[in-house]
Symmetry: C2
Subunit: 190 residues, 2 copies
């Protein structure tokens, strides 16, 4: 297999693992096993675990913004806000993607990772304000809802959807009209 293909394969595997265990909690050995390669090879390609995580964050952001731009371009009858909102919830089907970002967001203290995470977050904000045409308050509300969704995904709240009425109520309020997608996650092994 060519280098670039392996690289992308490892990035996908790493996104899942980092999402599950966080930056520090993830070992390059587990990433390697998930990608079907040897541990030293992961290090060989990305240099360090830190660099691998940074590339995971950058890739996640690229995918996120690409999905937003696609949703923005697809003009059905809906206004821009709901269209992008639905696109965001759709991304929850790649759990690791949102969770890896979230793990980055709580590491602002780290000089290297923190800088990347801040930059990524602000890129999204800038997209909302300029490309999507949100005003400051709309952007804030959109991001707020997004952070709640991320938190609920991080908490694995979907596990308790059936058994806990509070969970059901909260998720119905937090996920306007896209609940089914998130619930589908449970089926596919969460």
């Amino acid at each position: 297999m060519k280098g670039d293909d392996r690289r992308e394969l490892i990035l996908e595997a790493a996104t899942e693992v980092f999402g599950d265990y966080g930056y520090v909690g993830t070992t390059t050995a587990v990433v390697a096993k998930a990608a079907g390669v040897s541990q030293p090879y992961v290090v060989r390609i990305f240099g360090t675990k830190q660099q691998l995580f940074i590339e995971v964050l950058r890739r996640a952001l690229d995918i996120l913004l690409a999905a937003f731009r696609a949703a923005l371009a697809t003009d059905n009858g809906q206004p821009a806000g709901p269209r992008i909102g639905v696109a965001y919830v759709d991304l929850a089907s790649q759990r690791g993607l949102l969770l890896s970002l979230m793990h980055g967001f709580v590491l602002g203290k780290d000089p290297v990772i923190g800088a990347v995470a801040r930059d990524g977050f602000l890129c999204v904000y800038e997209f909302l304000r300029t490309e999507a045409g949100f005003d400051a308050d709309e952007a804030q509300q959109f991001l707020s809802g997004g952070m709640l969704i991320n938190t609920l995904v991080g908490l694995r709240m979907t596990d308790d959807y059936d058994t806990d009425p509070r969970v059901r109520e909260l998720m119905q309020a937090a996920l306007p009209e896209k609940l089914d997608i998130v619930l589908a996650l449970r089926e596919s092994g969460l």
Copy 2:
């Protein structure tokens, strides 16, 4: 010094350190140094690092709910929503408290920590719905705003408040009328 005093001292120190470096990224040695005791002593008192983190989470939640109840009881002219909201932002002055919770929220995958974190989050939701009298949608909006604030704190966005106009705009939208408090954090060493 008596055992219980030392215990609380260590919990305070641990709250700060866990907030900065997360659960896995925190070492008992750093907690010990921050509390001014020896590393084995920390383990001795709490049994394991995991148990220590769980007690940090529980304590953080207790403080959070106590602050909310106090704000609810203090009847100035304001309605309940803004009163509790201000109480929440006030808690940001204890950065580690909100951040430790946030680090717990992204570890839902962990069988032990995840269960504690879910339970804690739902306790807050239940408080909002029953004691504070929020309806489902109000509770969702309150929690959304809270998660955005936590994320901005985790990202250390306050560092860029002066230099980046996007940060200023976003924080002004996210922090209705309590911006000054959060900014005061920067002074005190963030």
